[in-house]
Symmetry: D5
Subunit: 143 residues, 10 copies
């Protein structure tokens, strides 16, 4: 553990986040997501909620403000407008770290898979709630 750094950020995850640059994506996925099959770099955080991991990541990683969208959830299969309880939790975490206007975009299931496969890393959590997956695009750290 370290001072002033969320303890959910494990040694591997810290190194991954610190190595990422402007425009690199990271996916935080639930316990049923095929993360090992898809990830370029895999970080496991078994037993933790995707929302807690997302909150820990956003405490040190800014999102990209050069592009119209920098955070994506997966759309409910067959009902792209449907809500899930975890979506509002993701929005509240984004608002806390990036401002209340930050928009959580959405991707159809297989488009989400393709973007996750191309991401710099996938963090496999213990999230049990449905649609507990999010992709974040890293922004610029300014002085």
């Amino acid at each position: 553990m370290l001072k002033n750094i969320d303890p959910l950020l494990s040694p591997d995850l810290l190194m991954v986040l610190r190595s990422m640059g402007h425009g690199d994506d990271i996916a935080i996925v639930d316990a049923n997501f095929p993360a090992a099959a898809m990830a370029r770099r895999l970080v496991r955080l078994d037993g933790l909620a995707a929302t807690d991991v997302t909150n820990a990541i956003l405490s040190v990683m800014p999102l990209d403000d050069f592009v119209p969208e920098a955070a994506w959830r997966m759309e409910v299969v067959g009902d792209p407008q449907a809500e899930q309880p975890i979506f509002d939790e993701f929005r509240a975490i984004l608002a806390r770290h990036e401002g209340s206007n930050f928009r959580l975009a959405s991707l159809e299931r297989f488009a989400f898979y393709e973007q996750a496969k191309a991401a710099y890393a996938i963090v496999s959590t213990g999230e049990r709630r449905l649609y507990g997956n999010i992709i974040l695009k890293k922004g610029v750290v300014r002085d």
Copy 2:
């Protein structure tokens, strides 16, 4: 995740537990323990309580009943008889899986370090409570 197996048992931890044999030790240690420096094999479970990890491990791993002691906690430095709140939690978990007579032995701090270094593996958890460390000796699986 798998059916009928505690989801806190990560892929690495499951492989370690399945590979261990009669008499091999595993140490479950808190977030401040120097696990990376001491471990022959290191499994990380950041963010989880040592008690939850111990409970998950004992759901699949029996303790050794060929020897008088098969579970050890660390003694409070300077006060070997002192209790800590987590000790009773460890005892309750042992009772649930191994019977109410199972004894939680103790080791002086540096003796605990030596036994952890010789263990088959160390599981580094996110436990924040004081003295949140335990060593378990695997027993025989009978039909």
Copy 3:
């Protein structure tokens, strides 16, 4: 060995199954199948029957119920409708774990090869019976 876990699930196989996610395939193949040439990840269980290994895998891995088919056998070359004694054994194992309506689909030999090559892992068994091969698609573990 571990308590409550079929001992045919070796350390490597347990880790593979635990790492797989929703929609990942695993192939269990007979002793003559070119598994080493085709597998992304190879698990060997020499000397065991494919049916026993399939039964052990299904004791911890649910099959996918989001798609119309989640288990495939290879069709007899030149006679796609033909039965083999092992097919009914596979069906009985599927019924035991997934319900009596679960359908064992079939694939032409070379289509079976292509799907096995793309699978997350291939388990090479000691099965000596003809057409002793099956592919299983992992489902979602629900609470």
Copy 4:
């Protein structure tokens, strides 16, 4: 699989046996033996009986006839003269391959551990019977 070679001899085990020379030991151990912790080279044959594996090994590997003893079982703890059912099975397999006078020697438990640690390889089987462990010393292959 290969013609004229017992199919229980997996690719790894065949390579190990073929690489061993005069005087090298191999241990075949039961499912509870701490093989992963002790082995210089580990071969897993989960699910198989130690007797079947021993029989397969002796079909290709001669025992050492330069020394008075070339096969050892573990003694029953606390009762070195005690018999176990599997001992006679081991003796029958030795007689079949090496002649009816071949002697199965014995080692006290911790002496057995020390010799297993020094062996060229340990084969971890699925043997569930008590004291299902044997060490074999390779002999010379003559024309």
Copy 5:
């Protein structure tokens, strides 16, 4: 060395042959063949004749009888019908192990190269005779 197994089958070659399955190819090539540049898996047997190595391989590996051709030699460049002394030796070895009707097919030089590149393994021998190259396709081992 092992009992009942041709000593020309080295540890690596035994493991390769045991790992191959139905339909996998193995090429046995002469001392001038560009084996290191082409092989997926390379086994070296410097100093040995390709015919002796072929004989040793066929003592444990059956050829494929599901397809019209399962053994190929290279055609003489510029004279596809021409014979070489080693061709009859290859035919005699095939007859000894697979029956007198087994046919040695032929491939034009560059077609032979392409099939060798795709083979499971190439065995580089010390064969000095011209056109001392053969590709064998593994068959099914039946009870």
Copy 6:
């Protein structure tokens, strides 16, 4: 780069610091120190001052308060009481992060070498000033 984390903490250094536990040492050494020859784990930060690196490390890593000394400088060879300008800089950095009473202990040159060799990691900086070396012992992170 990350928010709220000193950018001098490189990906490797962050992972090292996050992996260290209570009582593990880290050495920050100057540009002439034989770091590559001595380090168990080597982190390079060429071009940076040892004082800046020490300051960055102490922004996230607490020092050990269970022991009488947790920070050591090297003594001037032949004059153990002598001061060097960089010593007061080290003391000021320690005071900023650990309180004004925190003591900078000292070690004779070869004792310093021995402790650096046993440290969890050595950070090789571009420090050009004489005696620009310090060893820090990690403390406990409390809530």
Copy 7:
């Protein structure tokens, strides 16, 4: 450190520069650049200015004079003619090492990314200024 060689040239960077040949590119990029995701070979120099690193590299590496352009900066997004303060610093460093007529060419942002991905190596610096990225093409060392 070495005599007569800029100490900012770390062991890894020296080896990379010495291994490069005529026509190979090296990119020196700022602290927000996605270097780890794009680099064939990655050299980290955290905490240093891109201009200081460029100056150190040009003290030992000549630029290519066989081609019309051998140094490129990134164009300001949306304003390809715009200047940034660091551009003149790059020009001054080029003039010092390659002569006052040496031209700093420019590339649109995504063209710069493509050339950086194809470069022999990327050096990730701690540069915080906007557009602090440059690509250099190695020339011939003449007697």
Copy 8:
């Protein structure tokens, strides 16, 4: 060093040459050639002349006489007919080992690069003369 073998043939180079077969290429290149970027297998012989290395290689490696050309130099850029002093040295070495009629063919610069990239190995020498590059195609070793 070995008896009867040119000492310029280093351990790595000897192994590469011995592993090459009929039709494999090897490129010997000058000190400015981008060898590390292009080589499938790289052998370094810093400080040596390309002509000395070529001479040493041809003392053990025959050139291919099945094809019209088996040795290539790079053409002078912009003047394909131009001579360079080193060309006659290459011709003399070829004549010494392969006979006075052996022809040194030529390739345009980028065609030379493509053939070098596809070669079995590139030997990077310390050659300082212009156009000090040659590609050799290995022939058959006859009794």
Copy 9:
């Protein structure tokens, strides 16, 4: 294969011999010798006679003439003065390469094992004759 170099010297063996220096030992051992268990570096030449391999090695490797003994055979167990047919073959090979006065020394079996374990490499041959083992100490290559 290469010109002027015995084709029994495989790529690995050539590299080993070329890397050895004055005073390094190499052991050439028979097919029953426990070479894999003892060797620091293992070279396999299955199927070849130890005498042929020894002859090939001595065609390029001089023996040490700074010490009284530079070639050793193993003594017959229990009869140190006894001769074996292969001993005279070894002596003839030594005489051919090193002169007729070169002495073949002997070592008791376990002393031979100790020297083989310390050797730079062990070459495991297919030698079937009794006591077909020899250790050679490399000498200086003079102009």
Copy 10:
């Protein structure tokens, strides 16, 4: 190659020299020295004179002036006071780089071996002259 750096300093050698610190040794040895058997890190420069390599190394590496001796040659066996022609060449190179008073110390042959084994690296050259070996101790680089 690089500007202002001796081209005999290969990529590996440059990295080794740059990584060494105050007090680390490097041995430059002749073509018969058992370098591969003794070296912690081995750098090969086949074909070059030890004197040229020593000169190149001293162009960038200062010698240690904290200790009475920082350069050692090997003593002639049996005649410790004897001179060899290469000794004066070594002295001249030392004088050119370190001043005319710099002393070339000597070590008995086996003491030289022990110090070479403990050195940070050994550089194996093509030196053919007798006693062409030297050990150098790196000094401090001052501003």
